[in-house]
Amino acid sequence: MVAGMRQAPQAETVIEVSGVCTRFGSAVVHDHVSLSVRRGEIFALVGGSGSGKSTLLREIIMLQRPQAGSIRVFGREVLDLDEDGALELRRRWGVLFERGALFGALTVLQNVALVLREHTDLSAELIEEIATLKILRTGLPASAVHKYPSELSGGMRKRAGLARAIALDPELLFLDEPTAGLDPTSASGIDELVLQLKELFGLTIMVVTHDLDSLWRVADRVAVLGEGRVVGIGTMEELAQADHPVIREYFYGPRGRAAREQAWKKR
């Protein structure tokens, strides 16, 4: 998350997934899934329920292991990293979980400060200042800073989770369903925030989402998972032209149509 480097010389690959196979018992989730994410883009992963989007995300961030294949992040193979290497990588990315995953025993401020305290040697005062900035940055009101997660609404909890995800100024951000369960205003607030982060810091963002409006608004490229594979990859416009049945079902269902028309109108 470093400002001023927006035009990287050429699109460098940040995440490279190739030939990933995942099985749960006899159920095949991924059958040789391959895709790559370039620096500075917002890359969306979509697909029906059970298509393995979240599983793929969890595999990339080293919470789960696939049976076969290779996953490279910042050029390093995550499947055979030692602990130090894993820590080094984890420091470079932030993750927003679907339900925020804030630590319930800590206030919002303490949640964000925890990350800074673990990874830097800054003074307690500076940590608190930076953590407060990050929280306000996500659009949370000043009154929420010292509250506990259980005292916040769902949308606020998600913002707090995002504040924690960007605490270390990461280069790479993973968002799992960032707008799910939010009212339209909060959802578009999150969309704008994500766009701002990308604009200002050249962040690479990988997002798993079901929200078609959000896809049209923020995603540079989209990969559609279905039948255990990547059935389509490209911009929303390109995918809207594709004729794979899974993609057509996704984008030409009643909701997909409405979101598309909305998006065209805005252009």
């Binding site: 910042f74 319930g104 003074s123 200042e129 930076i130 900035l133 306000l136 010292h146 100024d169 200002l200």
Partner: protein
């Protein structure tokens, strides 16, 4: 100005130079080097001129941490009554600095909650405790009423849940209860053997083991084991269900949570605990018997013969009769604490601790009350 993308990560090393009224900032102003930068800024002496120029053209990387430090430095100079002109900032860094500046204003509004004073603390604690007692009382009342409904209409009893709980709290607790009671019997016999031998009263080992086991130790031991095993489980289960809104779901479906979650547990424990106590009686005495024959050479025949004379039905009933009361305490406290969980996983942990501590505490207090009452009644 543009940096090679690959070298961005991990870059640190900000530099500050002062030439007259000109401050030159350069290098990488990032979180990585923020600790060193913070120390450097704290020591840096700034020129005393009323009008300063800050040349930031040498800053090639900046993130929020760096921008905040820069903002903080400039703000403190301006607060000192000096004018600061910032020059040469990369447009993106300028945007970042402006964003940080706007947020810094909002930061002023954050009010840190003040910790309570001693008197306020005591007052709040007293009110909390009083509320707890009141709510616990009403919980007992509600449970009793629901239980009465069950007795009036036995068709409403959830037998499946009851049997399930009976297995969990009763049958599955047999091994641990047996083992501990056996060991307890051994310990008592072992401790008593030495004293009794001195008086040549070896045979009274049966009295010692039999009475202490049946009247006191077996019921208390079993109740404590069950409070640790089942009371904690009740709190954790109900508490987690509360966090995941399952309790609310039950209400909306029209199933009173009390009916499904509390009553079967209470009923099952009231049945299981006396049975476990009888089991502990037997195994505990057995342990004492084994020890008596090993240490004092009292044969099992003599031991049993003596035991028959030493204990009567009332000793047995005094012990077993306490068990249902203990069962009610443990299950009520466990379930009540479960319903008191709010919000988070942390709360589940805290409530579970409270449930076990309070359960055991109340069991021992009530046991003491029983002792006093029995001695009055001459039982």
């Amino acid at each position: 100005m543009e940096q090679q993308a690959t070298s961005r990560y991990g870059e640190a090393g900000a530099e500050i130079g002062v030439e007259g009224a000109l401050i030159r900032c350069s290098g990488a102003w990032t979180l990585r080097g923020a600790a060193a930068l913070e120390a450097q800024l704290a020591q840096q002496s700034w020129p005393s001129a009323p009008e300063l120029r800050l040349d930031a053209s040498g800053i090639h990387v900046m993130d929020t941490a760096g921008a905040w430090l820069l903002h903080r430095t400039i703000a403190s100079m301006r607060n000192g009554g000096r004018r600061v002109q910032v020059e040469g900032l990369h447009p993106d860094h300028r945007t970042l600095l402006d964003t940080i500046g706007a947020l810094a204003r909002a930061q002023q509004e954050v009010v840190e909650p003040q910790p309570d004073g001693l008197l306020t603390g005591i007052g709040k604690e007293a009110v909390t405790k009083a509320r707890f007692a009141l709510r616990f009382l009403s919980f007992i009342g509600e449970s009793a009423r629901a239980m009465l409904r069950w007795v009036m209409q036995p068709r409403r009893v959830r037998w499946r849940a009851f049997l399930h709980e009976l297995q969990l709290a009763g049958f599955n607790a047999l091994p641990i209860t047996g083992l501990l009671a056996f060991l307890m019997g051994i310990v008592i016999a072992y401790q008593g053997a030495d004293q009794l031998r001195r008086f040549g009263a070896d045979i009274f080992i049966a009295d010692l083991v039999g009475l202490s086991m049946l009247r006191e130790l077996a019921p208390i031991l079993t109740a404590i084991i069950v409070a640790g095993r089942s009371g904690s489980a009740y709190t954790a289960q109900i508490g987690t269900m509360k966090v995941t809104e399952e309790i609310d779901a039950l209400r909306t479906i029209g199933v009173p949570p009390l009916d499904l979650l509390v009553l079967p547990k209470m009923l099952a424990l009231t049945v299981a605990l006396p049975l476990l106590t009888v089991f502990a009686d037997i195994v505990g005495v057995l342990g004492g018997m084994v020890m008596a024959s090993l240490q004092l050479g009292v044969s099992s025949n003599d031991f049993l013969e003596r035991l028959r004379n030493a204990i009567d039905l009332s000793s047995f009933m005094v012990g077993v009769g306490k068990a249902p009361v203990f069962a009610a305490i443990v299950s009520l406290v466990g379930c009540y604490q479960g319903f008191q969980v709010t919000g988070s996983a942390d709360s589940v942990g805290r409530r579970t601790t409270v449930s076990v501590v309070q359960g055991i505490f109340l069991v021992i207090v009530v046991d003491a009350l029983f002792s006093v009452a029995f001695s009055w009644l001459g039982i």
